[in-house]
Symmetry: C2
Subunit: 99 residues, 2 copies
Amino acid sequence: MDQVDIFKALSNKTRLQMLEWLKEPELNFPGQKEYGYAEGVCVGQIQAKANLTQSTVSEYLSILQRAGFIKATRKGQWTYYKRDEAAFERVSKLITSTL
Amino acid sequence: MDQVDIFKALSNKTRLQMLEWLKEPELNFPGQKEYGYAEGVCVGQIQAKANLTQSTVSEYLSILQRAGFIKATRKGQWTYYKRDEAAFERVSKLITSTL
DNA sequence: CAAATATATCGACTTTTCCCGATATATAGA
DNA sequence: TCTATATATCGGGAAAAGTCGATATATTTG
């Protein structure tokens, strides 16, 4: 994943929102309470908040995943996504050091 | 300038290069030695390094400027561009705090 | 003021991104 | 195994970005 693709992943309002929502899953996805938040939040919950179709949300999540910002865990018929905080640290440093 | 536009500005290989070149103007733009580097580097010098037309380079610089990464100074018939390091710090923090 | 030079803006064309509906795949349960 | 549910992938039309050549604007200089 090169630098340009990392910034492209962040170049969309909805994708930025998704990242912010995932900072506080309990707060932003109360509908998932009964299943817990250990592995993250599932696609359906995220779609319900984003005002976009299932296919678009699925694609956006995979763009964020390829850029490294989130990690996926398949569990039964659900895919859970959660943030990878280390990626944010890396990109932050990239901006002050490399760029 | 909203967050999305900041990241869009960084979503292009040539624009990223321009920012890196401007970190070391003396090294990357020796052709400008006689005019000094106080105000930055002029468009012509940057165009000579980027392999793009004058119009494209001019537009790219203005995209970077609108995003806050560089500042322009007009001096005679030349426009000099230089980095605004504070902007990089801001975006770096944005990534670790807001995002 | 006319010519030369540096930069900015405009119009057009191509490529990429956005976002959708339809379809495919995976898993769970009856 | 059949059906229901969750997610992923595919194909496409609309919008945005990339990039160019031509032209406009500003400034310097003869």
